[in-house]
């Protein structure tokens, strides 16, 4: 039942684009937004639609940072490590997140609630150091505030919608 829904969603995304190679990245981004990762079935269907070898889509999936082949957590915590954030202590911030959630950047927490990533620059340098949880920016975060921010996204927390 669930699988069928996924297949339908995949078709919906793919059919939105003409079967031309140049739309491959956009379709993969939409899949990533929809499923939080690229399901294999999605890549297979896309390769068929674009008339291109699956391996080429695979190379794109592993090349572009926005795409992932593994499911991500329910909430994605992005710690900005742009230069402005870096000199304002983003390394300690990454340590802090690691200490609090016991997972390293790139990993998903055991309960599937959180993914932690470092990102190059979120373009909100005047608010450094910056944390992005899902779509919400937290600017000028201190190490002291960090646990509170993260906990609000735990099950039952104020931001876990």
């Amino acid at each position: 039942m669930v699988e069928k829904t996924e297949a339908e969603q995949i078709q919906e995304i793919i059919q939105h684009y003409p079967g031309q190679r140049r739309h491959a990245l956009a379709a993969m981004q939409d899949m990533q937004h929809c499923f939080n990762y690229l399901p294999r079935a999605g890549l297979v269907a896309l390769a068929e639609h674009m008339h291109c070898p699956l391996v080429q889509l695979y190379s794109m999936a592993t090349f572009y940072k926005a795409l992932s082949l593994k499911p991500k957590g329910r909430h994605i915590i992005k710690v900005c490590d742009g230069t402005a954030c870096h000199i304002k202590g983003s390394m300690s911030m990454i340590d802090g997140v690691q200490r609090h959630l016991k997972i390293s950047p790139g990993d998903v927490s055991a309960d599937g609630q959180f993914s932690v990533e470092t990102v190059n620059c979120l373009g909100t340098c005047a608010l450094a150091p910056v944390l992005l949880v899902d779509e919400k920016h937290f600017g000028k975060v201190t190490l002291g505030q960090l646990p509170q921010v993260i906990d609000s996204y735990k099950p039952g927390g104020g931001n876990d919608g």
Binding site: A66, H86, I87, T124
Partner: protein
């Protein structure tokens, strides 16, 4: 009902202000306005609320302005809405006005030192107009340049841009007009125009701000470029992470097409142009033109050798003009007012203005547009207000990962393309990251190399292997086990990258290392020879210590420590550590003391930042642990 609002309440809704809850502020103001407008008085007239793009001073956001009275409020919260509405056409609401070092309230934006030194061309409309409303852009003179260009012969359009001296704002600084002329000289059709909005330099966010706050200026610029080179199709390549920019540009494209500025018959001229957005996949190397084009075509974003330039063979092997967002935003101004007018601003070799993101350890940080030729000192001290907490200046990093770090002795350097290159830095995309004495230059060099190592596409060996090797050497120096030969080896690798890497990412990748070695060699030597990090940053070499003489026992360090490494000791005289509760009782008798547990300290510096009395000092780890 065709009543024009006499006054406008402009609420900044750029990403920076939105992060500070600008949406709630705008909603609260809207409600307050509705309530207040019930008893509209003749003198105050009607008031219209507008959600604008970024005002640049993101650090003090959310920003609300009253137009045309020129009143600016900073750090506005939803609860201020009624006071702000009450101040419209009346006395400004003082608590929200800007206050400089002299603590005097500043009402007008032009009197605010952050804005006073700026000249806005690329950012001319941002913060004034609603990016989602094309009428706002039209009222500000939008699309007049496109209409003018439609009546001009191609040569004339190109001549105007050549005369303006406009050079690419994305990093390389190639003259825009020359690029257009060159693309035009190849007979092959079709031709394409591309806007590079894959802003990847860490520490720079002008492109995001322009795309979000004034998308039509970029679209108009791109349309003029298309006219000049005879292209009928174009792409805007925008980072997917910039969600608001993608949304606003998409809306603007639709509005422009609906009004006939894009499509099959632009303004009845018979000319065609269709533009579409391509969302970037989050790869820094895609800022490189050939990689970006490969990405648009639907492949992995790897660059190719540029034996043949993309103006001759770019997208799908056809002549392609690629311009940066900020470059294109300047184009309508140039066509409207003429190349000569634009060329009046700037220096001999670098005309016009440049948008810089002035960030890091500076008092007032944000996005600023200044004439080319402004000095670094003026940028940091006049616009930026000096170094945060009045600490000593150490370096300014310009040009992102391809740029360099400049020391205090070069603060009077006039910023333009040539002068920065001469001193082994570059304008690049315009990031200006200010560093104080608590920034370790070896660590900064490691940061950039580590960044580029992760972003290297891996196609050519010098970049893939060379960067990895440089990163390992720098990590070793930071960790205190560097070798005396490390500096020579770094220089040798840097030379190899400059000579042999395939694209600009690799060719310039060594710049951050070379410039720090040039200007801050003594810091490398302190790490290498003394296992000491002078800035107190590198965790392997540093621990924090409380100077009991300077300590006022305020407890700020104790509260700030994220790992509980700061201990409260009993009052002077007692040696054993006591728990917090007991210490509270002792306070009356004598002041407690604080001590850092060197084994638990991670040298994150939170205690040092928190201390207002310079009582927390970074010391060499070995000296304490031995």
């Amino acid at each position: 009902m065709a009543e024009v609002a006499l006054r406008q309440l402009l609420v900044c809704c750029g990403t920076g202000c939105l992060a500070n809850d600008a949406r709630a502020v705008a909603d609260a103001l809207e409600t307050a306005l509705q309530d207040a407008n019930l008893d509209i008085s003749v003198e105050r007239g009607s008031v219209e609320l507008k959600r604008t793009g970024c005002n640049g001073f993101c650090e003090r956001g959310p920003i609300v302005k009253i137009h045309p009275d020129d009143v600016s409020y900073y750090r506005v919260k939803p609860e201020h809405a009624e006071s702000i509405v009450a101040s419209i056409g009346a006395e400004p609401y003082k608590p929200l006005l800007f206050r400089g070092d002299d603590k005097q309230p500043v009402t007008r934006q032009v009197d605010n030192p952050f804005y006073a030194h700026q000249t806005k061309i690329a950012l001319r409309n941002i913060g004034q107009i609603d990016p989602l409303n094309i009428d706002d852009y039209l009222q500000a003179g939008g699309y007049l340049a496109l209409q003018k260009a439609l009546l001009m012969p191609t040569d004339e359009i190109i001549a105007a841009v050549v005369a303006s001296g406009l050079r690419g704002r994305g990093g390389a600084g190639f003259p825009t007009g020359i690029k257009w002329r060159s693309a035009n000289s190849y007979p092959s059709l079709p031709r394409y125009v591309v806007c590079n909005g894959d802003e990847g330099d860490p520490g720079a966010f002008m492109d995001r701000s322009i795309l979000e706050g004034d998308p039509h200026s970029v679209i108009e610029g791109l349309a003029i470029a298309a006219l000049a080179v005879g292209a009928e199709q174009g792409f805007l390549y925008i980072r997917d992470e910039y969600g608001l920019a993608v949304k606003n540009v998409a809306a603007a494209l639709q509005a422009a097409a609906d009004c006939g500025y894009l499509g099959d018959d632009i303004c009845g001229s018979g000319r065609k142009l269709s533009l579409e957005i391509v969302r970037g996949g989050g790869a820094f190397v895609c800022g490189e033109s050939t990689a970006l084009m490969s990405s648009i075509e639907g492949y992995v974003g790897e660059p190719r050798a540029k034996y043949i330039r993309s103006v001759e063979r770019g997208l799908w092997g056809q002549p392609t003009v690629l311009n940066n967002v900020e470059t294109l935003a300047n184009v309508p101004y140039i066509i409207t007012f003429g190349g000569a007018e634009y060329a009046k601003v700037g220096t001999a070799g670098s005309k016009g203005t440049k948008v810089f993101s002035l960030v890091g350890k500076v008092k007032r940080s944000g996005l600023v547009e200044v004439p080319m030729g402004v000095t670094l000192r003026s940028l940091i001290y006049d616009v930026g207000g000096g170094i945060a907490q009045d600490r000593p200046f150490k370096a300014i990093q310009t040009g992102g990962p391809s740029g360099g770090c400049l020391p205090e002795s070069l603060l009077d350097l006039e910023v333009d393309f040539e002068s920065l290159l001469e001193h082994h830095a570059m304008v690049g995309s315009g990031g200006m990251i200010v560093m104080d004495d608590r920034s370790c230059m070896v660590e900064v060099a490691h940061y950039y190399v580590d960044f580029l190592c992760g972003e290297s596409c891996g196609k050519c060996t010098p970049c893939r292997e060379g960067l990895r090797h440089m990163r390992d050497i720098l990590a070793g120096i930071c960790a205190g086990h560097g070798q005396p030969s490390d500096i020579d080896e770094l220089e040798e690798l840097a030379f190899c990258l400059q000579e042999a890497a395939l694209c600009a990412l690799g060719k310039t990748a060594a710049n951050p290392v070379l410039s720090t070695l040039r200007y801050f060699r003594e810091e490398f030597e302190a790490h290498l020879n003394e296992q000491r990090c002078p800035a107190g940053v590198c965790p392997s070499l540093t621990v924090m210590q409380v100077d009991s003489e300077a300590c006022t026992a305020c407890g700020a360090c104790f509260k700030a420590c994220p790992v509980g490494a700061v201990h409260q000791l009993a009052a002077v005289g007692a040696a054993a550590a006591v728990d917090e509760h007991q210490a509270g009782n002792d306070k009356k008798a004598d002041k407690p003391r604080y001590e850092v547990d060197v084994m638990a300290c991670t040298a994150c510096g939170s205690c040092r930042e928190a201390c207002r009395f310079e009582a927390v000092k970074a010391v060499k780890k070995e000296a304490v642990c031995a």
